[in-house]
Assembly symmetry: C2
Homo-oligomer: 267 residues x 2
């Protein structure tokens, strides 16, 4: 059972895991070095623990204790209890959904394990915005995708903002980093996937046509700013586009993923 | 031609339009009372002016002047020029894309005007998140929707964050507020639109089937938290759902809109 520790000093060193949550650079180095990630909100904390992650600690205001009592009962980690105003001083902003947990990261699985029995896969090249990464996971989970593969520079799915936007689906959808950027797509092809790159390239065909009748599909998505690298665009088996109205730049990558996942889910 | 005014005091009262951009409540009252809105980034500022909005003023660091020189040439508004560090003191955060403009709002058009010749319309009930409102506009514009109607409590499409996420499509897609919440959907039906509410209701049918073969369609979307009000859900002509994987709550409203707009664009 978690030990409840009522604290009254926001500078208490035991609260280090929860400091300055909006300072992206600080958080990246802290979370990487310590091998931790944060879950925010009762529902997301619950999903992290149910997915088998182990808590380092919890932090919440008194009114959130009841809702998480069953989880705290089953955890050996300390639960720091502070008034909301002091929590805000630690985290640097008002945590709307109250409860926070700091959890241990686990080693990432290998590509073989993630792709085992997968039929529909998302492959993200350099999606750098945590909100987009989270939205893409939520969307893939909702529309029946089995796995997500990330290029080395793609943003971290376990970053707090990504976890929150994903509504915890980053815990349930298998994912990992690709070890080799250059040959990532040919490697997927050799494993029996048809790689379909979403792009505005001239030879792209409508996405519905590009995925029609395929068995194993890997939908490939590029960065918010400039899309896919030319290497990935060219090494994909097919290039696909979502037909759009004239004069509009494009859909945002999360919206494009939603459409492409929907279309692929009905192939 | 815009007058360039080099300022060195972030407290200068002429910079009032740009103050504390992350303080949502302050911005709402300031922008409402003054009848202004902000555009951020060269591309979005350009689109606002090209759509016929009149600038009250501009604010930028020296390095952004060249890119907007043609627009400044054609405007009578003052352009305040400050070093980036001082701009950050005014706005309360680092403005990544440099240029800002404060523009005059215009009276909202009537529903008749917005719906004139429209065939595909989005109707938002209480979407309260500015990011979602912006994403929905961008998506509607990209997928050929002709107009957007907003319930009284829906978030403001001209709020800075919505404008930015929408990539300025809030300037080009006709939109207005619905004067009457209660009978909004029956009124659209009487104008010849089939109102299709996205919902998880038991009698919802797959969205593809719900829009098949329709001429004038109004896609109806509800709040992030609890979806549509029962009045709107029940007074829509049809209820539609995006088929999803078991165990996932739902798609976020922006992702659901992307899928529904795509499906409706191919009806």
């Amino acid at each position: 059972m978690a030990t409840l520790l009522e604290l009254d000093d926001p500078a208490d060193p035991r609260l280090r895991d929860y400091r300055d949550l909006r300072d992206v650079e600080l958080r990246k180095s802290l979370e990487g070095e310590e091998g931790l990630f944060l879950a925010e909100g009762e529902k997301v904390v619950r999903r992290a623990l149910e997915a088998g992650f182990t808590a380092r600690s919890f932090l919440m205001a008194p009114r959130w204790l009841d809702g998480l009592a069953d989880l705290l009962d089953r955890s050996a980690a300390p639960c720091f209890v502070l008034p909301e105003a002091l929590i805000e001083q630690v985290t640097g902003f008002h945590v709307h959904r109250g409860a926070l947990a700091s959890l241990h990261r686990r080693p990432l699985p290998g590509v073989d394990e993630v792709l085992d029995r997968a039929r529909s896969v998302l492959v993200l090249e350099d999606v750098v915005d945590h909100t987009n990464v989270g939205a893409i996971f939520r969307c893939g989970a909702a529309l029946g995708f089995d796995a997500v593969l990330l290029a080395p520079r793609c943003a971290d799915p376990l970053y707090r903002r990504a976890v929150k936007v994903a509504m915890g689906t980053v815990f349930s959808v298998p994912w990992t980093r690709l070890p080799d950027w250059y040959d990532a797509l040919p490697d997927l092809s050799s494993r029996g996937f048809t790689t379909v790159a979403l792009t505005l390239a001239d030879d792209a065909r409508p996405v519905e046509e590009a995925v029609a009748g395929l068995d194993r599909v890997a939908l490939v998505l590029g960065s918010e700013g400039h899309g896919l690298s030319s290497r990935w665009e060219q090494s994909a088996d097919r290039r696909a586009v979502i037909p759009m109205a004239a004069g509009v730049d494009s859909l945002n990558v999360a919206a494009a993923t939603a459409v492409a996942c929907y279309v692929a889910s009905r192939r």
